[in-house]
Subunit: 433 residues, 2 copies
């Protein structure tokens, strides 16, 4: 991977293309295994889920113990340190306040023909939330999925979380309590996704499933899509920082490493207008990598996919950024608002030196579930809209049908759809009688 690029170099375009096209995901092909698991859960329900849970998570459950009781949730949550709980409470408040502003409004109006038109938003009735077990079990991700669902008005939010060898994450349980999750099942993997999508004797089916997971979970979500709605399938995390020379190199290094430490396949990029500053950041990254707890992961990510790009000016930086369409974009420049105006494709923008990306992961308010792998060109982060659906409304008066009905008859005839036309003609005949 090219580590230090200058846009003035003759081979820059080729190097940049290499960066853009780096295949960072190695998704193992687990589709056949997952298809078998889903078929098994559809056929045998609880029995299949319990067997698979015993096999994969080494936990023996019954239909009665599959779901955690409120007392069990409370006891587990009590093990979370008080300062963690307080931080989760603040995070939930801020995420809720942000997402409450996303609620769209219903509309209804009467046009000049006398037709009443509009639409109405309603929440999904039941949503399922996948929460990974083990190392990648993040209470912050739980909040980012659960809070928009609850703000949207989802009545039933059912969460699944595997408990390998019986291990429960106290902070995750505290977050579930704070967010108001309605049901918690200690199951995971493709079997949990299948149970949510199709239902079992114990778990009622949901209408939509969101939340991150491993390759089995992702494959299962793809397979049940259509039966239920799903959120995007997220790829490895990415950050692009655009910084001028007037920054602390160590701050920017830490911002880059905060994505790199997620995953060996994460990508951290810096575009700077100051070559010397770029070199200073690269040095600061190396220095931090000497001591960082997750230096093994972060080091591989930075080595394989990281880069510093020196641009002529901020206009060029903005144009490169739009070609990258980053998941996270940090603008550490003198006038970040002006630069943001020049950006078209980004999942989330963090403006100015006091807004490290990590603020957005936890506590800022906006959602941290964001489009990866250049998909910010056409998609958005998670929001209340993911838990709402729109019903369009139309009510013709006799006058409005008289006014616009004939055009519908003409178009139906031109499309050779006779009954479409006749359904209008029959009514107009009565009106014109």
């Amino acid at each position: 991977m090219p580590q230090f690029l200058e846009t003035t170099a003759t081979d820059f375009e080729a190097q940049f293309q290499t960066l853009l096209n780096a295949k960072r995901e190695d998704s193992p092909d687990v589709d056949d295994v997952v298809a078998g698991i889903i078929a098994d859960v559809r056929a045998r329900g609880d029995a299949a889920v319990l067997e698979l849970t015993e096999r994969f998570d080494r936990v023996a459950l019954t239909p009665e113990t599959m779901r955690m009781t409120p007392e069990e949730v409370a006891a587990a949550a009590d093990d979370a340190p008080e300062e963690v709980r307080a931080a989760l409470v603040l995070a939930e408040e801020r995420i809720r306040a942000y997402h409450e502003r996303q609620m769209p409004s219903d509309e209804s109006w009467t046009d000049e023909s006398g037709a009443r038109l509009g639409w109405r938003w309603t929440p999904v009735s039941a949503a399922g939330l996948y929460v990974p077990g083990g190392l990648a079990s993040y209470p912050s991700s739980l909040l980012m999925n659960a809070v928009p669902a609850k703000v949207a008005g989802v009545q039933r939010l059912a969460m699944v979380v595997p408990t390998p060898d019986g291990a429960v994450n106290p902070a995750v349980m505290a977050a579930a309590q704070i967010a108001g999750v309605d049901e918690i099942y200690r199951i995971g993997g493709a079997q949990a996704v299948a149970a949510l999508a199709y239902g079992t004797q114990t778990i009622a089916a949901v209408d939509k499933i969101t939340g991150p997971g491993n390759a089995f979970v992702a494959a299962a979500k793809r397979r049940v899509f259509g039966r239920v709605g799903i959120d995007m399938i997220a790829g490895p995390s990415e950050i692009l920082v655009i910084a001028d020379g007037d920054n602390d190199p160590d701050w920017i290094a830490l911002d880059l490493l905060s994505q790199a430490e997620h995953d060996e396949s994460a990508q951290s990029l810096l575009i700077t207008t100051d070559a010397a500053f770029g070199k200073a950041v690269a040095e600061a990254v190396d220095k931090r990598l000497e001591t960082l707890e997750r230096r093994a992961i972060a080091g591989i990510s930075w080595r394989d996919y990281g880069a510093v790009i020196v641009a002529r000016d901020l206009d060029e930086a903005a144009a490169l950024s739009d070609r990258i369409a980053p998941e996270h974009l940090e603008l550490c420049v003198a006038d970040p608002d002006a630069l943001a105006e020049k950006i078209t494709h980004a999942g989330a923008i963090f403006l100015g030196q006091w807004t490290p990306e990590a603020i957005g992961d936890y506590i800022g308010g906006p959602n941290h579930v964001l489009p990866t792998a250049r998909s910010a060109r056409f998609s958005s982060g998670l929001s209340v809209m993911d838990f709402l659906k729109r019903t369009t409304l139309a009510k013709m008066s006799a006058d409005s049908l008289r006014a616009i009905g004939p055009a519908a008859e003409v178009l139906a005839t031109s499309e050779s759809l006779e009954a479409h036309g006749l359904s209008v003609t029959a009514r107009l005949s009565k009106l014109n009688r």
Copy 2:
């Protein structure tokens, strides 16, 4: 298929389940063929597209003739009858007026901590529109896809439409002109989808692909999803009419047949509170089927998937409707607005006797691309939102970082993501120095 059901019957629930679970789609497995076509287009670009077009559409094109010139489009459009053009102009105006009201607004506010938060909507830069050739080539569908894209602000709208044996549909060309489609390529099938998704020497890649197509097109859209955005994969059309006894049975019969005539797999259902009226509608359907042009198709659809359900009252009808979650719902009752209030899951609702569903297909204003196969439980019809994406914005002040940063540090530590925490700590250290 049960044709006449009464909710008071002891076996009603079983019969209703049969209706709900009817597998109406027989999607041939063309995935391997499609994968090969996509790989070929990625590898060879124009050459592959042109060869496949010659093979499947029996049309010999060159890179120069693949795209229609404005003169060719105009000449083809001129063959559309004047009344069809006038109807398309009215339809475009009404669809545009409706969708303009859907444009969401950008938001920006400063919270009590001093953090500026908000979001911004931007259009997809380039969209691809698939338009089928042959019998199912509908100008109305073109408008329903193209108008929301243009209202959203999509700068480049590239349309593909196969021209088997050179045949061009004049009404489709007129609709493309009226809607302001920017580029038209006379190609179709999986090769056209691949060309839009990956680009060729002649066709620049787009960011999002929408529009209906056959099994090959649907499989290709599924495969390129991720590289580009796609709209939903629509299943066979459906209508549910809820009617009291105070309706003309022939009108309701025609409304049912206007879906049945689309496709042998379409489903037309009537729920009525008046058994005698239900029987009268069934008789009217049979009578119309004697003469309807598309009686072969409509007859099979009605025989295999159609049904009349007699309900105790409108509350029961509304509850059944929500279990069906119909694509199209027509409410032909004395107080349709009151009944609509009781409905939660439906793609589009048509209120009252003067609003046959066909009005919504052509000229009402709302979109006719709607969720099928019970997916109205979790998804919505096509809208300007499908051509927009949201970028979230966050800008901390030094004070706001001081206020909420410590909570981010706590959560980062609890998730063992050290660099996340350090990126905040480094900044707070300077502030507190």
